[in-house]
Symmetry: C2
Subunit: 201 residues, 2 copies
């Protein structure tokens, strides 16, 4: 069975976005500062990655079978137009099904009750043995609290944002102990780190 | 001339201490989980470091010529009994000179006006061309804001504390861009990272 993982580009001071949704130009700089062109399922979204970051991204895509996302990210991206850049099924955990959804042409699934446990279970069924990726921070925090999160990927970016949205939002029952990094890969203006969550501490 | 640097053990979510001064057992675990015994100037304080962390610590000590600290850290450690574990002069930046100080036997200096600029200048004079280390977060934040900070060392610890004291406390004029990591060293339950501050961004 695949793992349940989360990942984000994060500033040195722990933020996945700056105040008022700022800072993305810096946090996502590494998606555009390399010589390797990487296509996504979205024809309008192409990355220019360094060799290291391209290998990181391709591994992530190869390992991912389904996504669990929250309403904020879904609305912000307008449901990725019905097809996520990673081209995998998407499970939206939300209090209600957004207007205009579900759509027949889009592999999007809607969980309105049962919480993160139900959303992850639905995603597992869709993932075909691959990993379930839980994003963004709010969903990841809920998965962490529920004891469901196996791994945390941090794309650590050398910027101090000073304020904004933390990756993990005051998770209940903190502290949580992790193991690792189980891998480190240095890109340009990013260090890709992966950690394993250890719930027995 | 030496550099002005800061460093701290920090959780994955950016905290240098958990709620109510908690979390130090986890943040400082790497000071006690290795086979290399490292003495300090304080006979009561000995570390057990891994080879990697011992090399990291010895380099830090070798490069450090003076410290700038704030009142919170000074009071918390009771002025290190008059001798800092790194055995270098200490400059305290504080609104007032603490009771019982200065002491003839202790290389402690007190800056009560002129702010971080004055404290760093005094420390530079004492550092003999070596680095000035500015700790903890409040002082480091002021040095960052004043354009004085050359490097940031982060001993990144795989724990999610969820809340507490951030390394950098809402620095004015954020975001700040850094370069690097200029070095990465993997210890056991710690990754030693160093970044250079770039003020021209």
């Amino acid at each position: 069975m695949g793992k349940v993982v989360t990942g984000a580009s994060m500033s040195l001071d722990g933020y996945v976005s700056g105040p008022g949704q700022s800072g993305f130009d810096r946090l996502f700089q590494w998606y555009g500062n390399g010589r390797v062109t990487v296509e996504t399922a979205d024809p309008g979204l192409t990355f220019q990655l360094t060799d290291v970051s391209a290998a990181h991204w391709r591994r992530l895509v190869a390992e991912t079978g389904a996504l669990v996302v929250g309403r904020k990210l879904f609305d912000f991206t307008e449901g990725w137009g019905g097809r996520h850049p990673m081209d995998v099924p998407v499970v939206l955990l939300s209090h209600s099904v957004p207007e205009g959804w579900p759509r027949e042409d889009a592999p999007f699934h809607f969980v309105t009750d049962g919480g993160i446990e139900r959303a992850v279970a639905v995603a597992r069924d869709l993932a075909g043995g691959k990993n379930v990726v839980v994003n963004s921070g709010t969903m990841a925090t809920q998965a962490l609290e529920a004891g469901l999160l196996d791994e945390v990927g941090i794309d650590l970016v050398p910027v101090i944002l000073g304020d904004g949205t933390p990756f993990f939002i005051a998770p209940a029952d903190a502290p949580y102990t992790l193991e690792g990094p189980v891998s480190i890969a240095e890109g340009d203006r990013v260090t890709h780190l992966r950690y394993r969550v250890r719930y027995d501490d």
